[in-house]
Every structure is written in C-alpha cells, then in structure tokens.
C-alpha cells in the first residue's frame, strides 16, 4: 500500500544538558509536498532536522518514514531510507572537486577513476531531469555559494534522496540564486519528491511551501496551510507577540560627506584584483546599502574601509582626512577612535573569538580604550558591567556573559556584536550582513537600531546579500559586480528585479 506520509514524528524529544531543544515534537509531512519550518533562533529547527537525518539520536519519541518507525544510528541509514539533507554550513571538502564531493562515501568500488567515470554517467541523467549544469571538475573552494548549494542538493539526489531537508538554504543566496533554488524545489516536487525547508524569511515560506510548521522553544506552536496564512500571522506565532513595525526613516536632509572612496583598487587574497576603480560617498544621516552576489568584492570593500586590507591605488577620506591610500593604511584601533565602528561580515570567523566568553568578546577591538584598560591592565569590573549591559539592552539569550560565545546562536551572537559596536556612539558604521541567519524578532530590532543611528545623523554603510533588507533600511543602494560598482540607485527607484539584474552584471546604471 502507498503510505501518504513521507515523514512523521511522534513526541520527538532531544535535550542538550538541561536545554530542551526539541520537546515532545509531533508533525506530519505528506508525500510530495514542500513543508516549511519557521522559528526563532534556538527554537529547535536544526536539531529536529539533524535527528531526521540521523545525525543526532532522539532522547525520546519516534520518527516514521513512509509509515514505518525508524531508529537511525547514522546519516548513512537515513540516506538508505531516502532522506537527504543540505546543511546550513555546507558539508563539502573544499579542495575537492564537485564530482569528488558527490561520490564521497558512495564511490562503489575501490578504483577511484572508475568510480568517477561511472558517477559522471549517472549524474548526466539527474542533470537532465532537474536541469543542473555544474562544473564537476572545479575545486569547490573556487565556487560561489549558489553553485556549492546546488552541488549539495545534487549530492543528496545522487544518493537517491526522496525527501530533501534544507536548513536555511537561502541565508546566503542572491535573489537570482534563490529563484533558481525555488525553481529546483518546485521541480523536485513535480517529480514527487518531498522537501523540508527551514528559513527565517517568511516571504520565502509564502513563495514555495504548501504547509508551514511554526516552532517555539522546542515545541510546535502551529501548523498552517500556506495559502491560508500570512507572513504577519506566522511572525506573530513565532515570537508569540505582535512584531513591531520597523521604525520609520525620518527626513534628515542634506548632510556633509562622512566617508568617500576615490578610484580605489585592491587585490584579494588569491592575488586577483578584487576592487576596480571604486568611488562612492556616504553622508551623515544616510544608509548606503551595497548589494552584490557574494564574492564580487564586497568583502574586500569592507576590509579596505576598516583598515584590514591595503589599497593598490586610490584614496579613502574620512571626515575630510585621508585614512588610506597606496602607502598608508590606518589601523583598526585608530579608526575606531576616530569613530568608525565595524560589524564584521563573517561573525564566527572575524567578529568574535568563539572559544572566549561573551564577556571577553564584548570588548574585542576596544580592549585598548581607556574605560576597559588602564596602563595595560584590564578593568575587569568595568568590562563585566558593560557586557551585562549589552545583554540587557539587546535581550541576548541565554543571559549569561560567562558562556563561551560559541554556545549562543548566530542570532544572539549578532545582537551582542551590534551592541558592542553601537555602544561607542560611532560617527560611521560599517556593517556586513547585519542579520544573516537571524530570526525576524531580532531582525526587526537590529534594523530599528540602524535606522535610529541614521536618524541621529550618523553615516552607515551596509553590505548585505539580502535585498529585502537593503530595500528596507537603505537610502541609496550601490550594486557591485566583479569588483566594480555597476550603479547606484535611490531606494525609491530600485526594486528586486533591477538590482538583481545589475548584480548579475546584465544591467548597468549610473544613478
């Protein structure tokens, strides 16, 4: 008989120490549907998925696949049951080619070359069916996130996945890539596959899913048919309260130029030219958004401005004074003293020191400021006080500054980082990916804070992969492509499509 449910869980529970990550969780996912899961950071989404994929073992309850109870000991068994997963942080071996990554673990035979040859054949078929076109022999480390993700999906399908689990797949994608992904998802559905889809972006839920489950604190708080609910309702269900409208942007009028780049060139880590002839201005009281497909120079742009990368050519002025040119770079400490704050794009890699406590992270970059250290000695009391303050003001959870930062979710880490950088009342704020992977509750709060700064007449530069975000908080949006600024638009005359096309380098615009 044909069992209608692809996956069912009954009273599924998972604890980490005393944290109930998943608590008596029951849900049903009909075959051939796209099922969305939303919830705050730490709601338990990833945990649930990892159990379904056999990566964690449940502490209680059952998982049923096509009607039969399963007890996965490891992902292999899950795959055996036709469950494939694309993780939030990709599970790819960077120096390997896509092909090698795909066959890893299911080579079928000791001879590698034979295995590769065979895999190529089998993959052709899949490619036809789902319209992939991947550079199989490129090392993954050279590929864009979008491509990597499709590689991950293909990997799952190659292993015969019937049900595909996606954890925050769009967090790092461009609109085009996102669209491409959705196209793929619809195609999978058309082919009778089931898709389980976690995201923090409710419009995506509305766009692709058939049903949506809302989680809070490890529990299911609601299940809805997508066409019978609204983003607003979901948001409410998630946080358990009405989500405040984002603060309005006050009229700040014309203001002096705070930051300006003129003909800036810089080379990237691989020695290639990452920035070509970049010129831009940021005024007080405005938010300049920078859009672009990841890896088109945004990272390097942030770095040259914040003194982490030297220029090959060109000049950078701050408040009328040169802070960088071919010869000179101003070091981050001095920049901070001059009132330049920096929210690093890659939180875990740059913005925080994972194994250090939240308290110690609360002064990272400001350790030399008078109120944190005097004559080389740390002012521990002062630091503790400040950290506690950040936890309060940003409502960081769990409320314990002594935990290592690694045991906070990205969302909470980000709140802390923002607090740290805002606390110095900067004149210029440089922000990379303000809300990547952060739940909407936090997103709203962070956006509000950015807007408040702006209204208070500060200058802000935001790099983000999330166009909605840029459209929501920017005054002007500059679009980068292949290290150049292909155009700058006033927010009122920009929209996803145009921006998207410009990002893809299809359309230029001297706005």
């Amino acid at each position: 008989m044909d069992q209608p449910f692809a996956i069912e869980t009954r009273g599924l529970s998972k604890h980490f120490g005393d944290v109930r990550a998943n608590d008596e969780l029951s849900l049903i996912i009909p075959k051939g549907t796209v099922h969305g899961i939303v919830g705050e950071n730490g709601a338990g989404k990833s945990t649930l998925l990892k159990m379904l994929f056999g990566f964690y073992r449940p502490d209680g309850g059952d998982i049923l696949v096509r009607g039969e109870v399963v007890r996965f000991q490891n992902p292999m068994e899950a795959m055996g049951k036709g469950i494939g997963m694309v993780h939030q942080h990709f599970m790819l071996v960077e120096p390997f080619t896509i092909l090698e990554n795909i066959i890893l673990g299911s080579e079928g035979g000791a001879d590698l070359n034979a295995a590769k040859a065979k895999a190529r054949e089998d993959l052709k078929e899949l490619e036809e069916k789902f319209g992939f076109d991947l550079p199989f022999d490129e090392p993954v480390e050279r590929l864009s996130v979008g491509v990597r993700q499709r590689a991950e999906i293909l990997k799952a399908l190659y292993r015969g996945a019937e049900t595909l689990i996606l954890d925050e797949p769009t967090a790092v994608l461009t609109p085009q890539e996102t669209e491409q992904l959705f196209g793929l998802v619809r195609q999978l559905k058309a082919q009778g596959k089931t898709v389980l889809f976690v995201t923090h972006k409710l419009n995506e839920i509305m766009a692709v899913t058939d049903d949506v489950t809302v989680m809070r604190a490890g529990k299911v708080v609601a299940v809805r048919k997508t066409n019978e609910t609204s983003a607003a309702e979901l948001a409410e269900l998630m946080v358990g309260a009405k989500v405040a409208r984002e603060a309005a942007r006050a009229e700040t009028g014309e203001h002096k130029v705070r930051l300006s780049l003129n003909g800036v060139y810089a080379s990237g880590d691989r020695g290639h030219t990452a920035l070509t002839d970049i010129s831009l201005e940021v005024h007080d009281g405005e938010v300049l958004g920078v859009a672009g497909v990841a890896g088109n120079g945004q990272t390097e742009l942030l770095e040259v401005i914040t003194g982490l990368r030297r220029l090959a050519r060109g000049r950078i002025w701050y408040d009328g004074a040169v802070i960088a040119d071919e010869k000179t770079t101003t070091d981050p400490i001095t920049l901070r003293r001059m009132g330049v704050a920096h929210v690093a794009e890659d939180r875990l890699k740059t913005g925080v020191v994972e194994s250090m406590s939240a308290r110690e992270n609360a002064i990272l970059g400001y350790q030399r400021e008078a109120d944190f250290s005097r004559r080389g000695l740390l002012k521990l009391k002062e630091i503790a006080k400040r950290a506690a303050g950040y936890f309060e003001s940003q409502d960081v959870r769990p409320r314990n500054p002594n935990l290592p930062i690694s045991s906070f979710s990205g969302g909470n880490q980000q709140k802390l980082v923002i607090a740290r950088e805002i606390s110095r009342a900067p004149q210029l704020m440089i922000i990379g990916q303000p809300t990547r992977g952060v739940d909407i509750g936090a997103v709203t709060k962070i956006h509000d804070q950015i807007t408040e700064l702006r209204n208070a007449g500060k200058a802000i530069l935001v790099v983000s992969a999330d166009l909605d975000e840029l459209l929501a908080i920017s005054d002007r949006i500059a679009v980068m492509c292949e290290g150049e600024i292909v155009g700058t638009l006033k927010v009122e005359d920009s929209d996803e499509q145009t921006l998207g096309l410009m990002m893809a380098g299809e359309k230029r615009n001297a706005g």
Binding site: L308, T334, H342, T350, G351, G365, Q367, S373, L377, L403
Partner: protein
Amino acid sequence: MAGANKKLPLWAEAGLLPTLNLLAAFLVSGLVIWGLGEDPFLALSLLVDGAFGFQEAIGYTFYYATNFVFTGLAVSVAYHAGLFNIGGEGQAMLGGLGLTLAVFLVGDTSPFLAIGLAILGAAVFGAAWAFIPAWLQAKRGSHIVITTIMFNFIASALLAYLLVGPLQRPGGQMPESADFPAGVGLVHAHDLLAMMGMEFEQSPLNVSALIALACTFAVWFMLTRTRFGYELRVVGKNHSAARFAGIPVARMTIVAMMLSGALAGMMGLNEILGEQLRLIGNFTLGYGFVGIAVAFMGRNHPVGIVLAAILFGALYQGGAELAFEMPNITRDLIVMIQGLVILFAGAMEHLFRDPIERLFMRFRAREAA
C-alpha cells in the same frame, strides 16, 4: 562542547580527575614492574617515600620541579598564543650559555652583579633563540614545530662546540666549562633557612625556585589581568579576529615566542647557577620536552603547571631513590613510568572525565528532582 568545563566543580576538575589519571598510569607501570618480577607496591611506596619521605628528598623533588615550572610555563605561554614551542630544550641550552657568559664576564669583579646579569643573560639568550623560529613563523609561515625541533639540534651542537672550544674547562675531558668564580651562584634553600634559624638538610634546592614561582604569578597575571595577555590569547584563538581588533598578529607571535624562550632559558638558573656552577654540555636532559607534558597536564593554567611540575619532580627524585633501593628497577624503567604518566595524565583527560561528568549530571538531576 561549550560549557563542558562548567560541568564539574573545581575540586573534581583539578583534584579528582588528575588523581584518577595518575592512578591509571601507576596501575599500568605496576603491571610492568610486576611482570619484571618486582613488587609494585613496595616500588610505589619507595617512590613516594623517596620523593617526600625526608627533607633532602623534598629538597630534590622541588629542585627538579623548578626546572619543569620554567619549561612548562614556556610551553604554555606560547600555546596561549596558538604556537607550539617544542624548542624549550634548545632555548634552555642557550639560556644556560647566556648566564655562563654573563658570569665569566663580570664574575671576578662583582659576584652580585654577575648573578644579576646571569639571570638577565639566561632570559635574553633564551628569548633570542626563540626569536628566529618565531620570526620565520610570523613572516614566512615556516612551520614552528619543525623549526624549533631543528633549533634544538643546532643549539646542542653549538653548545658542544663552545664547550670543547672557547669555553672548554682548562684540561677538561668532557664538554663542560670551567667552574664559576667563587661566590657566584644562587643561595641554596638550606642556607637560606639556616639564616632564618631553621635546620634543613642539604639539597640543591635554591632561590631559583622562588624565581620560578614569581614567573608563575607573572604569567598568570599577564594572561588574565593585562591587555597584553588578552590580545595574546585573541591571537592564539583567531588571527582574523585579532586583525579585526587591531592586534598586530606577527609582532604578537614573535613577542609571545620570545617570552616563551625567556622562560625556558631561565631553567639554566636552577641547573647551572643554582647547582652545577659550571656549564655542562647536555644539562637540559630533555626537561624542555617534559615541559610540554607538564603544560598540558596543568591544562595550561599556571597553577596547574606548578602542580604538574611537582608531580614530575617527585617522579624524578622518587625514581632515583627507587633505583637506589631496588637495583632491578633501572632508570630506564623510571623513564617508562614518566612516559606513561604523561600519556594518562597529559593526553587522556577524557578517560575518566566523561563518566565522572555523567555521574555528576545524574547526581544533580536527583537533587533537582
């Protein structure tokens, strides 16, 4: 893994676990001894008694421990900066050389000045020897584990050259320098105590033990209380975050290594300026390597390092006494026991941690209920 260290109370963390590991090591050693047809329990009691049983023994135990405190601190300072300094051995040798040169430079004119200079010389030469690998690591990315190992070999050859050449003891047969001028040397503990009217058997224990303790405190203070220590640890954990925070990674790498080298170099104070009163070709006897084990057994915490150092001091001294008393237990066997202790106490902390943690969890759960 986060908060794993929070799962146990301090006494279990710092007391119970190390003890269990130690017992495990002794258990295995005991089996070997038994296999060799000797009485393990007698051996153990002799070892303990030989290490702490009488004043002289205690003196020797702490004398050896002093060496390990220096080398252990050296390893851990580098480690906090994310560097593996296997070069303690060579740095110690150069430290010994530095202090010797200082002594022969001014020893005859002013012993006091000489001692002062010697302490300085030990630190400076040790630091200098660490500088080159550090610089290569910072600027050229040369693997510091390898370069420091190489520098150990180079140091020993260099010392050998000087000790059968320029620094050769007149008419000497072995690679060793002439004796230090009279009066140049660190005060022994028994003399010190005698001055204070306390009777204590003779032993090589000398004031460098106090210097070692001072260094321990300094390192602890530096790591936990100073901005420099904070920046050093940031560099150790995450270079890109360090750059973000405006910390000059390369310079920090070099400075940390030089501090490490200086600490290792000061080991010579105890061996050379404290006891031998002449430079001996191979006076380091692998203490630099043992420092690695000491540092990790001490969980890279200054206090832990002191405890681990005392443990090893006891093994050395007690081991010697054991070999005195039981002729069939050779010094080789003692070396093996040391190896096992390093293995169990230094590398297998989870052996008992995980079960014990589970125990505590259940215990807490019951309390909660």
